[in-house]
């Protein structure tokens, strides 16, 4: 369970956890997630790749695990020392790719968090570059085919 009073809990280091190890609330959401339309069994056929469900199971740790104790500055998403004014800690677990996609595309808020937190974290995410942890997920959520 996310707890906003404990910002120094280390963010999960692994990006893709096997189903049995994912936080309970994420597993509960999976059934609903699958109900939101789209096929759940995609058969490989040449020429069908465009119709395939994208792998929205990736997630983005904010910040990256090497900097897990840093906070994120509200104005520009840069990483700053813990407890710096006008900055906030990251979420207690990596943000799901699907949530990031929806937030960046439609302005939705990350489940369990406020819109102010969402705005700040998205600034961090939008600054991710090749090589930074989470970049690949970020890049794939920006693909309009996903």
């Amino acid at each position: 369970m996310r707890n906003e009073d404990q910002p120094d809990i280390e963010a999960d280091k692994a990006i893709d956890l096997p189903a049995s190890e994912q936080p309970d609330n994420l597993r509960r959401n999976m059934l609903r997630f699958a109900a939101l339309g789209g096929a759940a069994v995609v058969t490989v056929r040449p020429g069908i790749a465009q119709a395939a469900a994208s792998a929205m199971k990736c997630s983005i740790p904010v910040p990256d695990s090497a900097n897990s104790t840093k906070w994120i500055r509200n104005s520009d998403g840069a990483l700053v020392a813990k407890n710096t004014a006008k900055s906030i800690p990251g979420p207690s677990s990596p943000l799901a790719g699907e949530d990031v996609k929806n937030s960046l595309r439609y302005g939705t808020t990350y489940p369990g968090y406020t819109s102010a937190q969402t705005t700040t974290w998205n600034k961090y995410i939008n600054n991710l570059t090749v090589g930074k942890q989470g970049y690949t997920c970020f890049a794939s959520v920006q693909n309009p085919a996903n």
């Binding site: 990736c58 090749v130 090589g131």
Partner: protein, 266 residues
């Protein structure tokens, strides 16, 4: 035929001679049994209405026939519709349909320090996972033609200029002597990039599952090969990084490719 001989100068003589190829050209209906429309020849031509050809495009017909012979005959390799170049024993694979720009990018890089393995088809050995080359003449189209003409002084490497083909202007380019000499030298695939010509410069990482799906789309024989192909492709997506990128012009495309290669250690 003289043009054909010149294009293939330096290649070892084919075992069966060219008579086999003629037989293929004369039997378009036989092709239709084996080829799904999506997996057809690199889109120089679509099958219906393209056969038979006018004599002045006989060169092209030979080219297509060879494409098909490869696609139909190979059973020990996973056949990918992709260009490939090699440097330091490692291969960069550029999958894509016609128009993606893969052939032009590969041709350019093949003249700038890389060994061109193929502009069209890459064969992945199902046992070793290595990429095998197939350095046939490169199909240059439209604007790619003057670019390569400016780069390559040896005019004998070019086939005749073919105008008014369904895809516009077409000219074949013989790969470098180095490429031809290394036609049996495999390389380990180390990076997979999906180019898309015509948009602003952008790049996106590709997840393993998406890569698996995209690679099957670009393979003419994945389904037919069954379990060994599944296992080979799993290993590839597990171990080889992949990304897609778009580029507005060739110079930008080349720069993006080199940047990715630097990051991937090619």
């Amino acid at each position: 035929m003289e043009a054909m001989r010149r294009l293939y100068a330096g290649y070892p003589a084919p075992e069966q001679g060219l008579a086999t190829l003629t037989a293929l050209i004369d039997a378009p209906r036989a092709w239709r049994r084996w080829i799904r429309p999506q997996a057809a020849i690199d889109g120089d031509f679509t099958l219906p209405g393209a056969i038979p050809m006018a004599i002045r495009h006989g060169l092209l017909a030979m080219e297509m026939a060879m494409n098909m012979q490869v696609a139909l005959g190979e059973r020990r390799h996973l056949l990918l519709h992709a260009a490939a170049i090699e440097r330091g024993g490692k291969a960069l694979i550029l999958p894509g349909e016609s128009g993606s720009g893969k052939s032009t990018l590969a041709a350019l890089l093949g003249e700038q320090g890389w060994r061109l393995m193929s502009d069209e088809f890459v064969m992945i050995d199902l046992v070793t996972g290595l990429a095998l080359p197939f350095p046939r003449p490169i199909s240059l189209k439209n604007s790619a033609i003057p670019v390569m003409e400016a780069l390559i002084a040896d005019s004998s490497r070019f086939g005749p200029l073919l105008s008014d083909t369904p895809k516009g202007m077409l000219r074949h380019l013989r790969p470098s002597a180095r490429s031809i000499a290394a036609m049996d030298v495999p390389a380990k695939p180390a990076l997979i990039l999906f180019p898309r010509f015509g948009d602003d410069a952008a790049a996106a990482g590709i997840s393993q599952s998406e890569l698996f799906m995209r690679m099957t789309e670009g393979s003419t024989n994945y389904v037919a090969l069954g379990q060994p192909a599944f296992e080979t492709l799993i290993e590839m997506v597990r171990t080889i990084p992949a990304a897609s990128f778009s580029y507005p012009d060739t110079a930008t495309g080349l720069a993006i490719v080199e940047q990715f290669c630097a990051e991937a250690g090619l």
